[in-house]
């Protein structure tokens, strides 16, 4: 691997916003992108004249399949009034947003542009669940993986069996990740599932009583999570609450050259490291209990940033499934291999823990409109680092943070490191 080079010019985030994530029958991806754009504009401390935006990079996995609308970048550009600026749709499956961010960083670092809008959008809920499953499956190797009957929950479930075998984890350990991420999402007004699992369970019991049906006998969330009626198995050992939902949503951030940051804010967030790596189908990798491309992307980003895993105060990681968050926490060097599930159990990754992960609620509970997810991670980090995360704000300073975005089973991984200097 060639060594990572440093950015030839500083790049900062000066604005960040997202639409609410959820299932919105009345909204398409352009409506959601407009919402995200307005939120981003509002967040720029000294105000934004949108006409100074020079170019757009937009993460979108597959509007062609989800909305029967390809070539979405100029349509979204038009929707926010930015024609005739150049716009690129960036597609690397669920890592599309994170890779779009990297494109924006490279464009500004190169000196070619000073102001770039990085967005992400996905409208997934117009299709039936089976059709969504099949659209997502096209992110895998359709020639050699899909004929085996694999689905996305299936791939991550297979990684989970390899991990359980190697490290002695039990399926119950995975539930700690879901519980934590729902706890965080309950404090995030933009989250698709802004409720704790406790509240979710109580809602189910109430609904049953209202309908005159026998009330479920769950007395704790653990009863609920262990019951097929509350938490059905999707792909053993993964159950419904181990999986991120099907979502609609969009996110947008404004990147500018560091030397111009003062025009927008006195509190910019510097992007000091960017790493990306590619990999094979899952079966072709030397190990199944880690995601090699994530390790390489992290290493590259750390090296560029001149920081180590210890320096990262909070991280938004790609928890498309609970096992994915545990593996990510190890790939990023926060915990040794085989220790991630214990850290989740011990509360180390909770909002008030030593290494908070997914304070936004993560993909799991905030929602996972795939092309938007990588950009929404940057939105959360921007808010937390500037002390604007409201009720879910972590205690103390957040001088350095990280985002980790994965495409498919890790065939694409992209990691960014952020720094607050004032």
């Amino acid at each position: 691997m060639p060594k990572s080079k440093s950015l030839p010019r500083g790049v900062v985030v000066v604005g960040a916003g997202m639409s609410k994530f959820g299932a919105f029958a009345e909204k398409n991806s352009r409506d959601l992108f407009v919402e995200a754009f307005k939120e981003m504009t509002k967040s720029v401390d000294k105000g934004l004249d949108p006409s100074i935006i020079e170019t757009l990079y937009i993460g979108n996995f597959t509007s062609d399949q989800f909305e029967r609308q390809a070539h979405i970048a100029p349509i979204l550009t038009d929707a926010v009034g930015l024609l005739p600026r150049p716009a690129l749709r960036v597609e690397d499956a669920c890592a599309s947003g994170g890779v779009a961010l990297r494109q924006g960083v490279m464009a500004i670092a190169s000196g070619m542009v000073d102001v770039a809008l990085v967005g992400g959008a996905e409208k997934m809920t117009a299709l039936k669940t089976a059709e969504v499953t099949e659209a997502l499956a096209t992110a895998a190797d359709v020639s050699y993986e899909i004929p085996a009957g694999f689905t996305f929950p299936g791939f991550y479930a297979a990684m989970a069996t390899a991990y359980m075998h190697r490290y002695g984890m039990k399926p119950e350990h995975l539930m700690n990740v879901a519980i934590k991420n729902h706890d965080n999402a309950a404090l995030n007004p933009y989250a698709q599932f802004g409720v704790t699992i406790q509240k979710w369970m109580e809602g189910r019991i109430e609904a049953a009583i209202k309908k005159g049906k026998p009330a479920p006998t769950w007395s704790t969330i653990w009863d609920f999570l262990h019951d097929e009626a509350g938490n059905p198995t999707v792909a053993w050992p993964l159950r419904l609450f181990d999986c991120s939902p099907v979502s609609d949503g969009a996110a947008a951030i404004l990147l500018v050259a560091a030397e111009r940051a003062h025009e927008f804010t006195d509190h910019p967030i510097h992007i000091i490291g960017s790493g990306q790596a590619s990999d094979s189908a899952l079966h072709d990798r030397p190990e199944l209990t880690a995601i090699p491309a994530a390790k390489i992307a992290a290493q590259t980003a750390y090296e560029m940033a001149g920081v180590t895993a210890k320096d990262i105060r909070i991280a938004e990681v790609h928890d498309c499934f609970t096992i994915a968050e545990i593996i990510a926490s190890e790939d990023l060097g926060f915990f040794a291999p085989g220790e991630g599930f214990k850290a989740a159990e011990d509360g180390v990754t909770a909002r008030n823990g030593a290494k908070p992960i997914n304070t936004s609620g993560g993909l799991k509970a905030k929602g996972h409109p795939v092309g938007a997810s990588g950009v929404a991670q940057a939105v959360e980090v921007f808010k937390q680092m500037r002390g604007q995360a409201g009720e879910r704000q972590v205690a103390g300073d957040v001088p350095v943070a990280l985002t980790h975005n994965v495409g498919a089973t890790g065939s694409t991984c992209v990691v960014h490191v952020y720094e607050r200097r004032n």
Binding site: P147, G149, F150, T151, A158, T161, A162
Partner: protein, 142 residues
């Protein structure tokens, strides 16, 4: 008279699937470094050599990872699989040292916690579909 040469099949998915239809699990072997690859590769990912040949695998392997799927894609549903009749997909480590995704048959899906990683497996071929859509799928039997 020299013997007619049999044209070498290209190292493509179509050729790999054609072999599956003949009940052969074939690997692409690099003549330079000896690396064996399933799925096939036209360029060796280890040494970048383009000097590749087809070799038949022993068809023996062991289970590296698996899942019991309760909600599968349409082509699995059409084969009668659903919540009440789940199936196993897995990753198989072949004797030749390369891994492949495959259906895994002959396991007790009602007790997934008792399925053992490392279990020995033998290649199998599952035919499904009608007419032109009839296809051979790679499977391994416990």
């Amino acid at each position: 008279m020299s013997e007619p040469t049999i044209p070498v099949r290209p190292f493509t998915a179509a050729a790999f699937n054609q072999y599956l239809g003949e009940k052969k699990l074939m690997a692409a072997k690099c003549k330079k470094c000896g690396g064996a690859f399933v799925p096939p590769r036209a360029i060796c990912p280890k040494c970048h050599s383009e000097d590749i040949e087809w070799v038949e695998t022993s068809g023996k392997g062991k289970l590296a990872a698996f899942t019991v799927i309760y909600s599968g894609p349409t082509f699995m549903v059409e084969q009668g699989f659903d919540k009440k009749n789940p199936y196993v997909s897995g990753i198989v480590e072949l004797e030749e040292g390369t891994n492949i995704s495959a259906r895994i048959t002959g396991l007790d899906v009602s007790k997934p916690a008792e399925i053992k990683i490392g279990s020995p497996l033998k290649v199998d071929f599952v035919k499904f579909g009608e007419g032109e859509a009839r296809k051979t799928y790679l499977a391994f039997k416990a």
